[in-house]
């Protein structure tokens, strides 16, 4: 597998220590993954010998990233996914591809990963609940996969579905949300080079609670758009309705771009708490990725299209 490094550099910065990035492998070692990592990881390459130049914001620690999750299929409190997601069966894993494309089918994960270049991308992650993290993901751009399926000119939207397996995802027996979990992007959002399909984090295979084996990461949108454990991809001509839209249309829109100027009835979107820090910081437009994505929404009223 070829490994390259792409960093959509985090620009705005408060206190930054490069040593922290260097410390990372040390940190992973401390957690006991050090040597295991090199031997067992199939999906995610090891992080050995990587450049350390571009990080500007402190990474959120591995424990917080993997023990503070919203993955309602495994419970609604933040620790529940960590405690319960071991029941998720990630092998074998297949993704059904259907809709407006030339090459629909049932693809095995191996087939999907074949020939993909796994990159490391350090992204901010902003939850609609007002907290945020900085996460070193491993993965590949969604565009590189979608192109393989040859979407037709009718493919205006991409629909994603999480695995539906109530037996192993116990909370799917509850009606907190309509299952399976559904999310979607406009095709140009999906094709934007920032949009990532993650296979790992911190150089390690994605833990189940973080959406193993394959999840979406859309860093300029609120976290719930970054659907986990994807089992179905469908190309659509018309806009779909996501799970959270169905649950509460007033609060959750289709776009759900991080936007400090659009008020939310529960949580302040103008500021956020970075996990591991106490004081809140200002939330940036498009979560700090305006340069890369603002053009997608040119001429749109973002207060209407929240």
């Amino acid at each position: 597998m070829k490994i390259t490094k792409t960093n959509y550099a985090l620009k705005e910065s408060e206190v930054t220590e490069e040593s922290l990035y260097l410390d990372r492998r040390q940190f992973i070692k401390k957690l006991g993954y050090g040597t295991v990592l090199l031997g067992t990881s199939i999906i995610t390459p090891s992080l050995a010998k990587k450049s350390t130049k571009s990080l500007k914001e402190e990474l959120t620690d591995y424990k917080s990233i993997t023990q503070y999750n919203n993955f309602y299929e495994f419970g609604t409190n933040k620790l529940a996914p960590y405690e319960n997601a071991h029941t998720l069966k990630t092998t074998p894993w297949n993704i059904i591809v259907e809709g407006e494309c030339e090459k629909p089918g049932n693809y095995s994960l191996e087939k999907i990963l074949k020939g993909m270049t796994i990159e490391e991308r350090i992204y901010r992650f902003r939850c609609v609940e007002g907290w945020s993290m900085v996460i070193p993901w491993n993965g590949f751009s969604l565009a590189s996969l979608l192109k393989r399926f040859q979407p037709t000119s009718k493919a205006k939207y991409v629909y994603f579905e999480t695995l539906h397996d109530p037996e192993n995802m116990p909370n799917q027996q509850q009606d907190h949300l309509e299952w399976p979990y559904i999310e979607g992007l406009r095709i140009d959002e999906a094709m934007n080079p920032l949009t990532l399909l993650a296979t790992g984090l911190y150089g390690k295979d994605l833990p189940n609670q973080n959406g193993a084996p394959l999840r979406l990461v859309v860093p300029w949108k609120y976290g719930f758009k970054s659907i986990k454990s994807i089992a179905k991809i469908r190309f659509l001509e018309t806009q779909l309705e996501s799970s959270w839209q169905k649950a509460n249309k007033v609060e959750y829109g289709f776009y759900s771009n991080v936007n400090p100027n659009v008020n939310h009835p529960r949580w302040s979107q103008s500021r956020e708490r970075r996990i591991g820090k106490y004081r809140k910081r200002k939330t940036l437009m498009f979560n700090g990725y305006a340069e890369e994505v603002a053009h997608l929404y040119k001429g749109m009223d973002l207060k209407q299209n929240y």
């Binding site: 424990k63 917080s64 023990q67 503070y68 309602y72 609604t76 933040k78 620790l79 609940e129 907290w131 509850q174 907190h176 949300l177 649950a247 008020n263 009835p265 529960r266 949580w267 302040s268 103008s270 500021r271 708490r273 996990i275 591991g276 106490y278 004081r279 809140k280």
Partner: protein, 205 residues
């Protein structure tokens, strides 16, 4: 049921007093030993709020329990339990102002105006303050009938508390529903008592 004096005053009441402090000690210890998870300030906000609501309900459970067990002494614990509701609500309020908002008044005001769950929560806390102030025994004598009227607010506060909680949660309303059911039972017990009172002249406060 009956506990002999001086044991009720010297043992049982202090026991309740200390027991009610256990949650705050556990919380403080968990914070100190970094056991509150990745977002400790959120955990503190939630837990102090939980306990404020719980003590509001516990203080209202005193009367029906007293009638159920025929344990009239229990009424003497009601004030301290109500004050603990105020204590935890104050911790909740301070946690919000300080650890959540760091006294950024502009944001706090924005929250109160724009977030219905915070509006209701603030209202609940404001209404709790006069109850705490007038909780002393001499106040009962001083205010007489007005005191009884004022302290009927104790039945309104948990409603506000539950609404505050209900509007906060995203989709799993299990806990606020649980509290609502408990409150409903309290109301039903009170209603039944009022019906009986008309026939046998029992008091329901």
């Amino acid at each position: 049921m009956y506990i002999k004096e001086p044991y009720f005053t010297k043992v049982f009441k202090p026991f309740i007093f200390v027991l009610a402090l256990v949650p705050v000690f556990i919380l403080a210890w968990s914070f100190y030993s970094k056991n509150l998870g990745a977002n400790p300030l959120e955990a503190m906000t939630h837990q102090t709020g939980d306990w404020a609501l719980r003590f509001l309900l516990i203080s209202l459970l005193v009367s029906p329990l007293k009638r159920l067990l025929g344990w009239n002494q229990l009424t003497r614990c009601r004030r301290i339990l109500g004050l603990y509701a105020f204590f935890y609500a104050s911790l909740h309020f301070i946690t919000y102002l300080w650890l959540d908002q760091f006294f950024v008044w502009e944001d706090i005001l924005h929250d109160i105006v724009n977030r219905p769950f915070i509006t209701v929560g603030m209202l609940a806390y404001l209404l709790l303050i006069p109850l705490a102030i007038t909780s002393a025994k001499f106040m009962i004598r001083l205010l007489k009938k007005k005191w009884i009227q004022l302290h009927k607010l104790a039945y309104v506060l948990p409603i506000l508390g539950i609404v505050h909680y209900w509007w906060l949660v995203k989709s799993n309303i299990y806990e606020p529903v649980l509290y609502a059911v408990i409150l409903l039972i309290i109301f039903i017990a009170r209603f039944i008592c009022t019906l009986k009172k008309n026939t046998i002249g029992q008091t329901c406060e």
